[in-house]
Symmetry: D2
Subunit: 363 residues, 4 copies
Amino acid sequence: MGNSFGHLFRITTFGESHGGGVGVVIDGCPPQIDLNEGDIQADLDRRRPGQSRMTTPRKETDTCEILSGVFQGKTLGTPITILVRNKDTRPQDYGEMAEVYRPSHADATYDAKYGIRNWQGGGRSSARETIGRVAAGAIAKKILGQVAGVEIIGYVRQIKDVEAAIDPNHVTLDQVEANMIRCPDPTTAEKMIALVDDIRRQANSVGGIVECVARNVPKGLGEPVFDKLEADLAKAVMSLPASKGFEIGSGFAGTQLTGLEHNDEFYSDDRGQIRTVTNRSGGVQGGISNGENIVIRVAFKPTATIGSAQRTVNKEGEATILAAKGRHDPCVLPRAVPMVEAMVALVLCDHLLRNHAQCHLLR
Amino acid sequence: MGNSFGHLFRITTFGESHGGGVGVVIDGCPPQIDLNEGDIQADLDRRRPGQSRMTTPRKETDTCEILSGVFQGKTLGTPITILVRNKDTRPQDYGEMAEVYRPSHADATYDAKYGIRNWQGGGRSSARETIGRVAAGAIAKKILGQVAGVEIIGYVRQIKDVEAAIDPNHVTLDQVEANMIRCPDPTTAEKMIALVDDIRRQANSVGGIVECVARNVPKGLGEPVFDKLEADLAKAVMSLPASKGFEIGSGFAGTQLTGLEHNDEFYSDDRGQIRTVTNRSGGVQGGISNGENIVIRVAFKPTATIGSAQRTVNKEGEATILAAKGRHDPCVLPRAVPMVEAMVALVLCDHLLRNHAQCHLLR
Amino acid sequence: MGNSFGHLFRITTFGESHGGGVGVVIDGCPPQIDLNEGDIQADLDRRRPGQSRMTTPRKETDTCEILSGVFQGKTLGTPITILVRNKDTRPQDYGEMAEVYRPSHADATYDAKYGIRNWQGGGRSSARETIGRVAAGAIAKKILGQVAGVEIIGYVRQIKDVEAAIDPNHVTLDQVEANMIRCPDPTTAEKMIALVDDIRRQANSVGGIVECVARNVPKGLGEPVFDKLEADLAKAVMSLPASKGFEIGSGFAGTQLTGLEHNDEFYSDDRGQIRTVTNRSGGVQGGISNGENIVIRVAFKPTATIGSAQRTVNKEGEATILAAKGRHDPCVLPRAVPMVEAMVALVLCDHLLRNHAQCHLLR
Amino acid sequence: MGNSFGHLFRITTFGESHGGGVGVVIDGCPPQIDLNEGDIQADLDRRRPGQSRMTTPRKETDTCEILSGVFQGKTLGTPITILVRNKDTRPQDYGEMAEVYRPSHADATYDAKYGIRNWQGGGRSSARETIGRVAAGAIAKKILGQVAGVEIIGYVRQIKDVEAAIDPNHVTLDQVEANMIRCPDPTTAEKMIALVDDIRRQANSVGGIVECVARNVPKGLGEPVFDKLEADLAKAVMSLPASKGFEIGSGFAGTQLTGLEHNDEFYSDDRGQIRTVTNRSGGVQGGISNGENIVIRVAFKPTATIGSAQRTVNKEGEATILAAKGRHDPCVLPRAVPMVEAMVALVLCDHLLRNHAQCHLLR
């Protein structure tokens, strides 16, 4: 269990890092949407390894094949299956991992839970699993754009202690994609790149914060009480590998304000729309989107896999020393950007359908 | 939709602040567990209004009735329904709310989504909804304790800028319950109480951070990839009213460390158990519990309802001024403690059942 | 688990025959629908015991209370909870059942599964559980009527070997309600009533077949491949107590025809609608409604509880003789009619919402 | 939606008759079960076209590939994906179907629902979709066999008016597989084969009844009230293409008996097990398995696709004549046998896990 996400726009991902491939089945996609592999490949290319020296050198083109659900360039309303074959696998790099647990990785917990584990490249716990999410997210983005002009843009806001000040209301995809670290502030981006270069040379790793904004989200998305929009967004991104924290709007910093300072006062804009003067709510109030920009932040820990030697144990619990040999990212942040965007898109698309069902049947 | 939570130990809450009552149906509870109203009332009393001057003066005993699912003091395996009637309702206090939107509240978004809203005391968006969660959480705690000796303890770690340093490994329920702010550090607790007293007199409000630890959690709970334990925990607490952020283990602060500093090295303890030297993972690795203490933190914004005047609009979008007259908490944190505990218990209990089904069928 | 039904219009029933009461929570109901207890009570009255000498003499008015989800006479979009208290309980009648298993009842299997059982009046396995279904079904009928003019009419088609020939295309609710056996053919109804009177005097019981038609169902309801409309209808009615068989359209008799005889040829009617000349499909093709009348039949076994002596065993497996003392129906068919209608309504309403979400988002 | 089945042992099928392929993702499979393609291929071979002159001549080996979830011959507990490529596709045979609706097929309803349809070979409504079910069912059978020695055997009981009398308590797989019609009574099998040969020559088709028995099913499977075992079995088989009716135990014929005749009296067998003298309940009482053999029957209509000319309409509603040119089965029954078995296995395996979770956690 646990490999499906969403209630109406529902995806199921599958696959391990080494083996037949990875992919996704999307059930509940509306029919008659234009779709081809190109629509999906664009985001997969932003996620794939080897795209820059910021990322793991594993060479995968991550070329996707649509196996089902599309006919003559349009979605059928039936399950869309997308498959990416694993190509550049090097099981020999991982032989040691069959026996030795990598610190802060999933090796030991998979063994504890299942009593078995595909130890080649992390198996199911590999970030390759997110290929399915990003592929499905590309379709969700397309629907959201088509129905409501929704724009979802993620970017690196912080790497270790290097932080950028970005205005989520005006950031563009071009700014994000202008550099290999995906920080839309060029000056900070250079510092981040230098930091990652440095840390890679030290066989070490760093983490940071991805911020993501969703603009033009219709009012009314989110289902009280458990499926509040922020709750589903939190689950969505906290299910990404290496994520350790989530916040929306004012987040943790909002605890430093009083209610009088924190509340978003209402006004009517010149089109008669009820708006808020500030957006400390982050676009969601009472679990439901209010039409303001949705702004979230996700903390990613430093990559667990590092080339430096660390103390650990093997399956039998005997002490040993491990220095990772497999290929890995010194910093997952640039590749996490399309993953976060995908998860936000999946949540919004699912709630778009849910809201349409319950609240627009009789309108 | 959205009023159910959990996959096997599944709860559905219902009810509005004013009206017939609030409650919960719990489906999937194991049979033959000793259960009576007293087991549930203890946590409801920690959640109820009017328990101290830190909370809203609304007078509700929140006395619960078990309507179904229990026979001769034991659970039947059939749905357990728990009902709490609303008593001290004052709809007259809320007349203005029928027309005017409270800033940073759910009034405007409920209207945008449903086109209708029970404006008495916040209706479904009222924190009274959490009665059902806390009642169900009490049962989940009981099962977790009985099966594995799991202890779940929440406490107030920070109110505005007053922060306590608590050791989650040793904190006790008695320490938490020793003062009305539910901060187990007595000195800091006094400062927090003084702060809340002060802010209440100013007709203002404050927020803060609740930390929660779960000890003795068996290894193996959590289902990769979307239902990772931290993902379900994040959803669980981010579905609580007023929550704005979530973190597990090192959380956002962990982004300041390198991988070498952050990783939790493994060792074998004297009972031959594989353990980690540090616990920056917060008890979860690869989405699965590793047997270490699970430690999470939740940011709660300052209460939206305040007695001070704020600019807002009415349903027609006309500008107006609102100063809340209904009863409300100057700070939700003390009452949020049992809510967070309940949500953690619900997640762990559900995953206990899920893990048992898939991974213990053949053992 | 297992006490919820539906994906978007989702109900959860609760309660035992003896105890606090029985009821239902409905999640996902569209907002702003006029609703009061009277809308629900009408169908509950058709289901309640003691309504005629055809049914059990247990005296329950089954008066319902709406606990939540309705405000000022309209649905809120939040969970609707409906509670019916148990009144005329006689636990003393059931003392023997604590120890002795009634043949073809749920006593032994509940004990085998849960190791515990509320033996008063059948507990959760009592037909009183269907109160929640009928209450929720009344709301589903209202939505279906409002959105699409859907009419759902059930009736008794056969009792033991007495069978009526009814035209599902023209039968009316008034015809059904014209007699206490709910067979719209008055002549056959009299024979059925005489048969039941006779069998009751013999302390025996009989079963039969309920047929149900849904008219004006929009095209397009039903989700291939597992949630085909006939599959969900089958599950819906096979979850009713005492049901042993289901068929749609030509059903089992259709196996006697060749394809050439069985196929429903298409034509265009005078409004340009594509229709079928015959309706052996029963209104569903490929799992999706085709706009023709949906016609199903459900076989109900003779009531298991009978006053005559039968051989059985007690909990320890010791042989004994049992003659039921509790109150019971000599024939469940008349009361099964509103139950079948309710289940059909719940399936159609859920699929109406599902189809609206996926297939009408972009139209 | 609608392409997933099961709650804990949950499958999602995908694919169209013509296109990249068909397959299934299985989530929730217990880990460490021996599994390879051979385990699955055996049942796929019983399902595949072209296996005898009783079936469609389409030539597909239906060779399966396990894409994920298995490592070194054992299940990982992660999603198992099984893919079968489409090989012998002849889209040119189906050109007419782009425009013309086949009577009693899914063409018109898919168009009405989705506004688009893969008209090559029936697309998603093709029986090729059941490949995923049969593949997943093979795994479910393996688990059921390993855990409890469960045996599931389906067979053709009736073709049109030719009916066999089979004892479900003693029928063997060898008897079923001894002839190409899969009727374990050799004499009747010959008559059935002659009948199908005859009907095929007439460019016509026939239907019939598949009976299926599950032996050694543990007591306690099935979840009251909606997920009663018979309800989930009914849904399972009524979701198969061409099914029109379902019954369990005494089924429709049971309505001819009185309660005194119908009830299954209890006794204790020589091992002290509580058993029933008769089995009119069909192995399920109160929705829960009672340890007796589960016996169900499924009515399949005559194949809709026939070579004879029929009146129909095209997409524009214009009258036309159609005689099918694509390859098709004159009688689906022999191939439906492994499909029914698979669906029964999927239901039982899911409920085995569900029962284990709720009712064996504390035992």
